[in-house]
Symmetry: C2
Subunit: 272 residues, 2 copies
């Protein structure tokens, strides 16, 4: 038994994962470098098996099967499922450190049911199709005790060069900002793709523009990098674009176009 | 005189630029590699001088000063100014090929006043602070005659490996898509930055996320790369984020949040 000997037990941990989605998949692959993956739980045994096979863990689909002889259980499921998971599992693993991986879910959602609660939030967007650059992915750690915090911090330090102690409130702002920076910008790309597809134009033409826009916003203040007709207050072009969208019956895109343009214009006037 | 000897005169061209903004600035720098910059016009002589000095051209602030002994005049001004510019300059340079650099402005805006009209549209976002990767920047060419088209095409081929002949209608779709992919995604970064600043959190934490989001959308279909609470239909988190924004009196951001989330949810349901 390596556990319960102060910080040392963190060196080589026995870890189980609840969830077999994108975050769980990438965490499992990253954690198996230094640690032993014990069980992967998913309501779909097939999904659990898919991940478990790749990291030499056991797949389970019932919480009663959870092995209590582990150092850490990571809950990497959708936010809305976290409370239900902790409520169901805590009696099977009462003494195990359990951490969720969510940006917006408060640590108290775990702590109301379970004493040894923590958070390990990776600020990144995960896809099955892509490798994760863990070293550059900011990781945010929170725990109820300094010992559990130190343990999660050490784990995080193995994965990434950017580890931070953040409260649940700070993490929520971060996730909210991430929704704009990642989810909504991706939806903007999606709209662009649909606009081009309607004209049989290849989306790959936009790749240099998309990459340059992202690079320059991360190297300068985004408000100073704003370009385009809304920023210039070019009403003719704004109207022309709106007309294109409504003519094409894309009133949904026209709504986005109008709202974003109005706000960009106001923002630039405010900055002047 | 190298001009008016078929295509050959394009080899080393005498070029003037109307405009001293970001596009003009980067075009002037790129074009001076192979060609001679003659005049840079801006209503602000100071701005004209700033660019002209760097490319050994003359700065002017009156259209009557335009030198008619050039092969090409590029109009790189805001869309709303193009018609007024061509109307004012065409009598001074009646035989010169004049091209604008706009995505959304029809070639006819020039051609209604001037016979030898063309377009050279770079699909990129330009900043004074940043170098332009011209080789990878898609360039879209249009002209009224095959000879002028060949001339602009050759010029474009010198700058970029991605040159396309596009009609004004095709170019408009492209620019409209670019507004979503570039201007609106940048505004999403700007909102993210403002959300974090309000909590004194460093925007640079989002850099890996922003870059990964951009990279994966350009290497896959963006709708398949969508992540986040709206995509998962996670109503609790959506409401929590909306509440954060309204509590912070950012009703403008809350509007964007709601509209984008609704559409992402609908899009994902449609894709299922």
């Amino acid at each position: 038994m390596l556990r319960n000997r102060g910080l040392e037990w963190c060196l080589k941990m026995r870890i189980s994962l609840i969830g077999a989605g994108r975050v769980a998949y990438h965490l499992a692959h990253a954690l198996q470098q230094n640690h032993q993956l014990i069980q992967i739980f998913s309501r779909s045994l097939q999904k659990a098996q898919h991940v478990a096979e790749q990291v030499s863990a056991d797949a389970i689909d019932q919480f009663v099967q959870l092995n209590a002889d582990v150092d850490l259980i990571l809950i990497a499921v959708s936010d809305q499922a976290i409370a239900s998971v902790i409520e169901q599992i805590q009696s099977y693993v009462p003494n195990v450190l359990i951490a969720h991986t969510s940006g917006s879910t408060h640590i108290n959602v775990l702590n109301q049911y379970h004493v040894r609660s923590g958070v390990l939030y990776p600020l990144q967007t995960f896809s099955f199709e892509r490798q994760t650059d863990w070293k550059n992915t900011p990781l945010f750690v929170e725990a109820m005790t300094t010992q559990d915090q130190a343990c999660l911090q050490q784990l995080a330090n193995e994965l990434s060069e950017r580890v931070y102690l953040y409260s649940s409130e700070q993490r929520l702002s971060l996730h909210l900002a991430a929704v704009f920076a990642c989810n909504f910008s991706n939806y903007c790309y999606d709209i662009a793709n649909q606009v081009l597809e309607a004209q049989a134009v290849d989306f790959s033409l936009l790749a240099p523009l998309i990459l340059e826009t992202a690079h320059k916003a991360t190297q300068n203040r985004p408000e100073h990098m704003q370009t385009g007709p809304a920023m210039r207050g070019d009403v003719n072009i704004l109207n022309m674009h709106q007309k294109c969208l409504t003519d094409a019956q894309r009133h949904d895109f026209a709504k986005v176009y109008q709202l974003m343009s109005e706000q960009i214009l106001q923002r630039q006037q405010h900055l002047k």
